[in-house]
Symmetry: C2
Subunit: 187 residues, 2 copies
Amino acid sequence: MAKVRTPRGAWVEAALQAMASGGPDAVRVEALAGSLGVSKGGFYWHFTDRQALLDEMLDTWEKAVVEDVIARVESQPADPRAKLRHLFALASSVDGFATELALRDWSRRDPDVAARLHGVDNRRMEYLRSLFAQFCGDEDDVEARSLLAYSLFIGSYFIASAHGDKSRSQVLQLAIDRLLSDSWGAA
Amino acid sequence: MAKVRTPRGAWVEAALQAMASGGPDAVRVEALAGSLGVSKGGFYWHFTDRQALLDEMLDTWEKAVVEDVIARVESQPADPRAKLRHLFALASSVDGFATELALRDWSRRDPDVAARLHGVDNRRMEYLRSLFAQFCGDEDDVEARSLLAYSLFIGSYFIASAHGDKSRSQVLQLAIDRLLSDSWGAA
DNA sequence: CTCGATCCATACGCTGACGTATGGATCGTA
DNA sequence: TACGATCCATACGTCAGCGTATGGATCGAG
């Protein structure tokens, strides 16, 4: 009756789950084994040590939140504004955002992780620029809007404040509308 | 010769420093004692346990990054736009931002910390609203700009991407100029 | 100089987590 | 059924970190 296969991928998935809910220090071999219903015996058959699991976990995550997301948005033809709204919708629905926050915190202590996040930020910002540039003439405008958009994405998951009688998603919508507007005056 | 006084405040300060550079799990009693040049013997004279130190540390931080900052901005008379620029300048210069990021990460696992951060966010957003409302008629505009401004503050410390030939502070300036502009069109 | 208050050093017990070693248990295939 | 490949259980050694206990060490006041 005992399930005989706990494949490599199952450990990685459990690790991402633990990372999301408890941060890097919660990714403990014995705890993962417990959540998978097995003992840690098998873990050391798949992985040489804990670090090997962390590396593979980062590989998996990185691909999922950059390449896969961009591919989904690009898969259906639409104008750039619609793609940006689609992007935000995808980002807002990702329940795995906790993982990203945990990784960003971790990156401040681990140079390897920091380098990976750096790459993720650059690829995302480059994609944002490419979309904004399609309806935004001024180069400075493109850069400012891209940074504001990305900041909104990051910040909206961090900031825990009330907005009076408006819901969080309503306020987000207001902000996005303004980021997608035709023109901005500078102060 | 041996320094006889390592006051309570010194432990709190060392804890904040450790929090900034290594996160909550780096706030270890024995490590703090080491960085202060003493053994942990004295620690348990001041504090009942590690949690007591963490609580006092949060009290100290909370006051420093909300009340003290607002008081500094309000201390000199200026128009609301100048105050907002002052606020951003202060925020950008704060070297203790790493502390804030570590606390935000921690808050996802600790309800008490989460409640404190929630309060901090509300007080800061309320202050932003009060400033934007002074030159911004529409209520939705005030809310959207406040959230974007706060997101920019948070996000700019997280996002690690290059901006071509422009420096990070230049791009930030571009974004702030737009947040302070007279009017925005909606998409 | 004495003495109590304040602060520190050292040694200890305990727990949780990593990694190792070794002997199974289960599965696919012939 | 036999057997090798794959996966798991258990016990163990080691180490880091918390909290405790106890005996100092230093300082200010009188």
